[in-house]
Symmetry: none
Amino acid sequence: MDKPAPQALYRQAKDFVQGKLVSGEWKPGDLIPSENRLVLELGMSRMTVNRALRELTDEGRLLRVSGVGTFVAESKPQSNLLHITNIADEILARGHRYRCQVLHLARESASMPIASALSLTTGASVFHLLCVHYEDDVAVQLEDRYVNPQTVPEFLQQPFGDQLQSARYLLQIIQPDEMEHIVEASHPSADELKHLQIDPGEPCLVLMRRTWNSGRVVTYVRLVHPSSRYRLGSRLPVTGAYRDS
Amino acid sequence: MDKPAPQALYRQAKDFVQGKLVSGEWKPGDLIPSENRLVLELGMSRMTVNRALRELTDEGRLLRVSGVGTFVAESKPQSNLLHITNIADEILARGHRYRCQVLHLARESASMPIASALSLTTGASVFHLLCVHYEDDVAVQLEDRYVNPQTVPEFLQQPFGDQLQSARYLLQIIQPDEMEHIVEASHPSADELKHLQIDPGEPCLVLMRRTWNSGRVVTYVRLVHPSSRYRLGSRLPVTGAYRDS
DNA sequence: CAGTGGTCTAGACCACGTA
DNA sequence: ACGTGGTCTAGACCACTGT
């Protein structure tokens, strides 16, 4: 029958539903078509549609009631609080001088951990950007970014520097529909020490971020900050009640 | 063709694998049996086994490499940044043993920084809790919490310990309507070193959180985690488009 | 009762990595 | 060539809900 899809079928089903959600055609509380209806509309088997709807439910976008139907979940709790900040804007907003030094920008072969982070095969071609962000000539962030060439093929040609930041460029090209943040404290490597011009022994705050679009990883970035020069914070209203424990 | 299972089959498959993981029979890095082997061992169809393994992979417990096999993931504990998590639940969910040691629980006079954090006057009466949370007898979090007596007057009378965590108690009493998170990397103080039983020089990830209810600060807590034993993370759908910049 | 989601099966084709 | 995971199908049975 049907086999070769550029994207998995269940992915296409997810994208179809997500499209209805983001376009507002299906609003929170709405009853959406049943599995069998979607099977007819999309021409897939029920198991495939079921997987798509189940995953969207696990992600909190849908609410399913057995024997009744599938509904659009109510407004997501705290979503864009950890928004993707552009460090240049932060620095300029503080009234300081911003500067960016690009150390490396090239196409590379993905090592195992990088391939894993981007959900690509080891050795696949990836774009790699390494740069340092300065606030009044003090290094505050080392950016070590990998980009999936399938999603942003023009990345290498961009004139990154003081005027164009990679985060801003990527946001203009690709709207992420999912993101992941991981924060940890660590001792910087020798190279990181040198690039950030800090003393050995100073701990660093490391923020790792991945963003997705249509199920594909767009970019994986590791942001290293000297702890004496940077903190990460958010303050936000709590919309809904806390569920579960 | 009949399967009157008290639990879903894919659930049983997940439990089977998780049992091997928590018992230590399958250790991080190990190659576990292939789908087809598990099909034979458990007497289920491949789709069912596949779902179990896929969900465990999504949960970060397994690592699958197409064409190679399924491996036990290296476990790096990771908690959600955006929710007020109860560390006891996190630890139990990982299938580990939880223990809590209360070091200090008393009414105190607020020092300047504490009064400032709670929006009280210096010298005002506050509740102070200091405790250490253990995962399998390894200290993973030092909790240094101050509570506003005006919002939670019964705090001191609670039997905090292995069975009752301060975070759970507070959530039951007061629904926060706003919260603030600040994350930084730092070197632990001498006391913190001792309580967490870590080597000098190991950086710590410090999460400071304040919660509000009706405009009043409910609690201010400083959570210190050895970087080798804890990370913070979140993964979530992105609802709207990114504006800003 | 008919419709819903929840689950399960026995096969199948594919791309990939290893030998 | 072979085994691996990744996906897909066309059916099926179930518990549940509403009419």
